[in-house]
Symmetry: C2
């Protein structure tokens, strides 16, 4: 029997690669003759660089950069030879010239500017910066990257990319022409003009921003209102932060020579609201940068189509399965790539009944298996995830 182990992370409990390792050990005990293929999944957030470094045989770089609240963190990127990247993925990246043949960096924003390094009470979009992501991008270029693929999941930031631009040479001046460093939305109001970058960014290598959402920068479905709360923003601050984002967004468009009549269009471009606007900023600051759909790219990089086709059984899972899982990425994205009657085990920390029903209706041989006792407090469920995953998987394999 061929079996594909393709877990996403169990957020707050287990990285994807760790879930795959636990499942593999369980398989070895339960079905020692099975041929097992591994494919930890990534949504562009935590694990993006390490998973791709492993999957593609690239080199993992770990670099100290300023974290989301400036305290040093270890930023990750993988450097991978373009020649080993699957052709479909390379085509999706639309890299021309030398970028298509040299080394490509997979830069993990979550490692530099993610919320995992912050305690609950440190999470505050007024105080967080993407400066570390900018530093990490420069480190990737310094290490020889001819192009950058930026994974932007799991960010703690809603800074319109201003911090990343600071790392890339944008100066924020106040009325007295003092420059304001360590820029965050809390200090946007001090900014009066932006220093010219003229040619400074002219040779920045191509950047592809992996993105699975279509939110605009501003408004009801924009970065602040939709993603702000999970980053620690209070609802009563929506308007105030939104005004600052609006102003900074326009300043950035002005700095990079976009004429004012195009600003509304740029501010509402799909994806510009992802990761607090970093994609928006990079799109306009860099000579060759664009959004690419995240999950299809990851699927191609990991060879998910080939691997799942060869599998008699697919075992997948993630921390929580609910409506938000249906967006076409992660385990559900994988499901949608499979033949409809493929046998699938879907292990999940917790799940919404409605979503389970919906998926099991659509995929006749799918079995969704919640691994935690619903009576456990969250903290206990998270702590016991490794053990529960193994136990429930062994049970399921025995029943099967």
């Amino acid at each position: 029997m061929n079996c594909l182990l393709a877990f996403d992370k169990f957020k707050g409990a287990l990285p994807a690669a760790e879930a795959v390792r636990i499942a593999e050990a369980a398989m070895k005990d339960a079905l020692p003759s099975a041929v097992v293929e591994q494919a930890p999944l990534t949504d562009g957030g935590e694990g993006f660089a390490t998973i791709l470094a492993t999957a593609l045989g690239g080199e993992l770089y770990q670099v100290e950069v300023p974290g989301p609240r400036f305290k040093p963190v270890t930023g990750n990127f993988a450097l991978v030879e373009a020649s080993v990247i699957p052709a479909a993925a390379l085509e999706r990246l639309q890299l021309s010239g030398s970028a298509g043949s040299g080394k490509i960096a997979f830069v993990e924003m979550a490692s530099a500017s993610g919320y995992e390094s912050l305690s609950e009470d440190e999470r505050d979009p007024w105080q967080t910066s993407t400066i570390g992501t900018g530093e990490l991008m420069k480190a990737a270029v310094a290490a020889g990257a001819k192009a950058i693929v930026l994974g932007i999941g799991g960010s703690a930031t809603n800074d319109c990319g201003a911090g990343a631009l600071e790392a890339l040479g944008v100066l924020y001046y106040d009325r007295e022409l003092q420059s304001v460093s360590n820029i965050t939305p809390a200090t946007f109001k001090l900014v009066n003009t932006l220093g010219s970058t003229s040619h400074l960014l002219d040779t920045f290598p191509p950047v592809r921003i992996g993105c699975d959402v279509t939110n605009p920068l501003l408004g009801e479905t924009g970065a602040t209102r939709v993603f702000g709360p999970q980053k620690g923003l209070q609802a009563e601050d929506f308007d105030r932060l939104e005004r600052q984002m609006d102003k900074m967004g326009r300043r950035i468009l002005g700095l990079f020579g976009k004429s004012p009549e195009t600003w509304e269009k740029h501010l509402s471009e799909p994806g510009s609201g992802a990761a607090g606007g970093i994609g928006f900023a990079l799109r306009h600051a860099l000579p060759d940068s664009r959004f690419v759909e995240g999950f299809p790219l990851v699927a191609e990089l990991l060879g998910l189509a080939e691997k799942s086709k060869a599998a008699d059984l697919v075992i997948t899972g993630e921390g929580r399965l609910d409506e938000s899982s249906l967006g076409g990425k992660g385990p559900v994205g994988l499901l949608q790539m499979l033949e409809r009657n493929k046998r699938v085990l879907f292990l999940t920390g917790s799940a919404e009944m409605k979503t389970i029903d919906q998926l099991q209706n659509e995929f006749p041989n799918l079995k969704v298996i919640p691994i935690s006792d619903p009576d456990w407090p969250l903290e206990e469920a998270l702590r016991r995830t490794p053990e529960s995953l193994r136990t429930k998987l062994l049970e399921a394999l025995k029943d099967d």
Copy 2:
């Protein structure tokens, strides 16, 4: 009669162009039939951009930038078509490719980071920054300059060029990875690492740093000890500031990939001590930058050789004539270009007897004319310079 009016500035009293205008009016009154040629001189300091814009028919740009103590000042640069630049000057600049045929900017450091904008008690090398010069260079590139010639006279700074590099995208991080902006020697001690600039400066156009001194960055003849005092540095601070300069100099060399065994050589390169080290910083930060001898370049740009050859009488002058005037630039530099027996009037605010004798021995038809009464207090002498210049010149022309 052909007459060349080629004054340098009377420092603190009269810009060079103004001295030339006063002399021209006096000539018109005294010798209305004389054919007058004008050539205000510049030593790369105050007036550099305006004088060259006028002499070469270029366009003068005036841009608000942070001054030496960050208070906004008006920075000047001239944009000049390479095609109108005398061939000898163009050759001296060693510009290749498109830089030799596009527009060339003459950027005046003194306007952005000069001591003229500071009151006596604001002059303090611990507190002054070259950030405005960096901004002015970026503005020149943004305006279309394919190369920059930087005049570095008259600076108020001894910051190792750190401020200019800040404007060009270098970040200074403290131990906590907070970036320290508005960097000056007073905050050097906070700096722990410099942010990578990787490719950021790769396409910066060629920069030529006009320089007439050969001082190294550090040591007895270095920037701090030789030029610090005239910028407001106290002698008891020499060692302390020197240590900071030494550390920053090495950080900059390290940032731009110079191997440690070459550091001593770079730190003692002739000219690296000019203008508080800005040339040193730019030399190592930019892909194509070098020092060029300042006065010979200015002489070629102004066509001094041709103009003085055609003149029966050369009228020149500067604020003070003393031993430091003999360095081969300004009026004495002009003298040294002339046939030995050319008739020359040299008007000067004040003069050292020994230097007068030395020059008059060397040039038989040179007449040095101090214009101020030695009994006047300095303030009065400065204030009365325009009037004294006219009066003394009229007298000299009458005697002649």
